[in-house]
C-alpha cells in the first residue's frame, strides 16, 4: 500500500468521525423529538465560539473545552424546552421551520458577538507529524480519531448499559407508554438535545483548528452529517457512525484521487450519496422497515 494512501485513509477517517459525531447528534434528536434539527451544526459552532472566547479570556484550553461542552449541554436542554416543545405538537413542519429559524439566529449571532473574521483555534494535539512505518500522518488526525472513538464509545455505553440510557431509549421508542411506566419522557427529550449539542460542539472544537473558526464552520459539516445520518435512515445510531466514516473516506479519497472533483467540488460527494440513498432506500441502509400511517 503506498504511503500516500495510508495518510489519506487516516485523514478521511478523522473527518469521518467528526461527521459521525454530528450525525449521531442529528439521530439522537430525531429519535427523541421526531424532527431533524437543521440548527444542530450551528449550535455546535456557536458553542465552539464560546470555547474559543473562554480560551481568549485566559482559561486553559482543556478547561475552556470542558466549560464549552457544559454550556453546550445547557443550551441544548433549553432549546428543546423553550423553542421546540411548544411547537412540536403542531407536527413536523412548524418544528422544522423553527429549527431553520434557530439556524439563522446562531449563524448570525456568532459574528455579531465576536466579529466576522476567521479565528485561529488552538489544536489540542499540536502541529506535529507522526511516522507510522513509512507514512507520515499529522498528530491532529490521529488525536481527532482517538478522541472521537472514545466519545462515541462512551456515548454508546451510556445509552445501552445504564438506567438513564434505557430511559432515553424507552422515551424515544414510545413517549406515552414509557411515561406510564414511570420514565420522565420530557426530561429524556431535554437530555437527548443536551447530549446532541454536546457532541456537535465536540466535533466543532476538533475541526476548528483545521478549518479556522468562523460562522461557516459547520455549514459543510452539517451536509456531510445529513448524508451520514440518512445512510442510517435517521434512526440507527450505529448507522450514523458507519455512515459518517463512509462519507469521510469517500470525500477524502475522491478529492485526492479524482481530478475532476478536487477540493472545490467535494461537497458534491455527500450530496450524491445522500440523493442516491434517499431515492433507492429512503429508510436507510440500516433501518428496519418503516411503517406509514394515514
Amino acid at each position: 500500500m503506498p504511503e500516500g494512501l495510508v495518510q489519506v485513509i487516516l485523514d478521511g477517517s478523522a473527518s469521518g468521525t467528526i461527521y459521525a459525531a454530528v450525525a449521531l447528534a442529528l439521530v439522537l434528536v430525531y429519535k427523541s423529538s421526531g424532527i431533524v434539527n437543521f440548527a444542530q451544526g450551528e449550535m455546535g459552532m456557536f458553542c465552539t465560539f464560546i470555547t474559543w472566547w473562554l480560551n481568549q479570556q485566559g482559561l486553559g484550553l482543556l478547561t475552556a473545552i470542558a466549560s464549552g461542552l457544559s454550556i453546550a449541554f445547557v443550551l441544548g436542554v433549553l432549546t428543546e424546552r423553550l423553542f421546540i416543545r411548544p411547537v412540536a405538537r403542531f407536527g413536523e413542519f412548524p418544528a422544522v421551520l423553527t429549527t431553520l429559524g434557530l439556524f439563522l439566529v446562531f449563524n448570525e449571532l456568532a459574528p455579531w458577538l465576536w466579529g466576522p473574521e476567521n479565528r485561529a483555534f488552538p489544536s489540542l494535539f499540536g502541529a506535529g507529524v507522526l511516522a507510522i512505518g513509512k507514512a507520515r500522518v499529522s498528530t491532529e488526525s490521529v488525536g481527532t480519531l482517538v478522541v472521537m472513538i472514545a466519545a462515541v464509545s462512551v456515548f454508546f455505553f451510556v445509552l445501552h448499559h445504564t438506567k438513564i440510557g434505557l430511559g432515553m431509549r424507552a422515551a424515544a421508542a414510545n413517549a406515552v407508554s414509557s411515561s406510564l411506566s414511570g420514565v420522565p419522557a420530557p426530561q429524556m427529550f431535554m437530555l437527548g438535545w443536551g447530549l446532541a449539542t454536546t457532541l456537535a460542539t465536540l466535533a466543532g472544537v476538533l475541526i476548528a483548528p483545521r478549518l479556522f473558526l468562523d460562522a461557516s464552520l459547520m455549514l459543510g459539516v452539517i451536509i456531510y452529517a445529513f448524508a451520514a445520518a440518512a445512510l442510517g435512515g435517521f434512526t440507527s445510531l450505529l448507522g450514523a457512525v458507519v455512515g459518517g466514516l463512509v462519507i469521510g473516506l469517500a470525500e477524502t479519497l475522491a478529492s485526492n484521487y479524482v481530478d475532476f472533483i478536487g477540493s472545490d467540488l467535494k461537497i458534491l460527494v455527500p450530496l450524491t450519496v445522500l440523493l442516491v440513498v434517499l431515492l433507492v432506500r429512503p429508510t436507510g441502509l440500516f433501518a428496519k422497515s418503516a411503517e406509514r400511517a394515514v
Binding site: L104, N107, R292, V294
Partner: protein
C-alpha cells in the same frame, strides 16, 4: 355578498398597483433599485408560496432557483444579446426545467428528507458556479450592465426596469392566487393536508408535486432574473445558502399559503436588513431567525390573518365565505 368583496379586492389591487407604478415618478435612483429588488424577492416568494404554502412540500431550493434564473438571464443577455423581457421568460423556463427535475425526489421523499435534499441543491450552487467559470465567470462573476430603454420612452433605465418589475410582481401574484384557488390549487392543498387521502380522491401526486416545483422554480427564476438586471452583476457570493432561508422568512411573514402576503414578506426581507444594519450587519440575520421562531409559535398563519382575528373580525377581505 361575495360580489361586494370581490369588487373591494379588485379595487385594493388596482390602488396598490397604481401606487406602486407611480413610485417611478418620485423615487430616487437608489430607492428605485431597492424596490426593484424587493419586487424580485416578491416574485420568488410567490413561487415558494405555491410549493411550500399550498402544496406543503418543504423546499429550501428557492435560493438555488433564484441563482439559476439570475445566471440564465446574464448568459442570455451577454452571449446572445436577448432583449430582457424575453430573457426573463427564458430564464423562468430554464429554471422551471431544473425545478421539475428537483421535484422528482419529492415523489419518494417527504418532510425533512425533502428539506435536506433541497438544501443540498442550495448549497451546491455556490461551488458549481465557482467551478464552471467558462459559463458563469467563476468568482469574478458576470457583468450585465444597464437595461436598454426603447427609443421613444422617456425614462431612465432604473425607472423602466422598476415599471417592469412592478408589473411582473403584480402579474405573478394574480396568476398564482388564481392557480391556488383553482381546482389545481385545491388538489395541491389536498396533497399538503393528507397525501394518501388525496391520492384516494384521484389526485395524481406525480404531476402535482413536480408541477408545484416547476411552477415555483419558474417564479424563482424570473425573480432571480429581475434581481440580476437590477443589480447589473451576478456573482456566486450573491447566492449563499441562507438566501433560501430568507425567502422562507418571506412566506412566513406574509402568511404561508396566502399569496398576496408575499408583498409584505418581500418588503420585510428587503428593508428590515437595511434598518437593522444601521446597528450591526449581522443583526438582520438574528432578527430574521427570531421572526421565524416567533411567528411559527404565535402566529402560524402570518400577521395578516392573525391580527384581524385578534380584533374579532373575520378575514373577509381575503376569503370568500364558504356556503353563502
Amino acid at each position: 355578498m361575495s360580489d361586494k368583496h370581490a369588487t373591494l379586492r379588485r379595487s385594493i389591487t388596482l390602488v396598490m398597483t397604481l401606487a406602486a407604478l407611480s413610485g417611478a415618478t418620485f423615487l430616487g435612483t437608489y430607492h428605485l433599485g431597492q424596490f426593484t429588488v424587493a419586487a424580485a424577492y416578491c416574485i420568488a416568494i410567490v413561487g415558494l408560496n405555491i410549493v411550500v404554502g399550498t402544496a406543503g412540500q418543504v423546499s429550501l431550493a428557492q435560493g438555488a432557483f433564484f441563482a439559476i434564473g439570475a445566471y440564465a438571464i446574464a448568459i442570455f443577455r451577454i452571449r446572445y444579446g436577448v432583449p430582457f423581457p424575453l430573457g426573463l421568460l427564458a430564464a423562468g423556463l430554464v429554471t422551471s426545467v431544473v425545478g421539475f427535475v428537483a421535484g422528482l425526489p419529492a415523489l419518494r421523499l417527504r418532510g425533512h428528507y425533502l428539506a435536506i435534499v433541497t438544501l443540498g441543491l442550495a448549497v451546491a450552487v455556490l461551488p458549481i458556479a465557482n467551478r464552471w467559470s467558462s459559463l458563469t465567470g467563476g468568482g469574478a462573476g458576470l457583468n450585465l450592465g444597464q437595461v436598454s430603454v426603447p427609443a421613444g420612452v422617456a425614462m431612465s433605465p432604473e425607472q423602466y426596469l422598476y415599471i417592469w418589475a412592478m408589473v411582473l410582481a403584480a402579474a405573478a401574484i394574480v396568476i398564482a392566487w388564481r392557480v391556488v384557488r383553482s381546482p389545481l390549487g385545491i388538489a395541491m392543498s389536498a396533497v399538503r393536508d393528507n397525501e394518501i387521502a388525496a391520492m384516494g380522491m384521484g389526485v395524481d401526486l406525480r404531476w402535482i408535486k413536480t408541477g408545484a416545483f416547476a411552477a415555483s422554480a419558474f417564479f424563482g427564476g424570473v425573480g432571480g432574473g429581475v434581481f440580476a438586471l437590477s443589480v447589473g452583476f451576478v456573482a456566486p457570493e450573491n447566492f449563499l445558502p441562507t438566501l433560501s432561508l430568507l425567502l422562507l422568512v418571506g412566506i412566513i411573514i406574509g402568511g404561508s399559503g396566502f399569496v398576496p402576503g408575499s408583498i409584505l414578506g418581500a418588503l420585510f426581507v428587503q428593508f428590515v436588513p437595511d434598518y437593522a444594519a444601521a446597528l450591526n450587519k449581522h443583526l438582520a440575520g438574528v432578527f430574521f431567525g427570531a421572526a421565524i421562531i416567533l411567528f411559527i409559535r404565535f402566529m402560524p398563519e402570518g400577521p395578516l390573518k392573525a391580527l384581524p382575528a385578534l380584533f374579532g373580525t373575520r378575514h373577509w377581505l381575503f376569503f370568500k365565505r364558504r356556503g353563502t
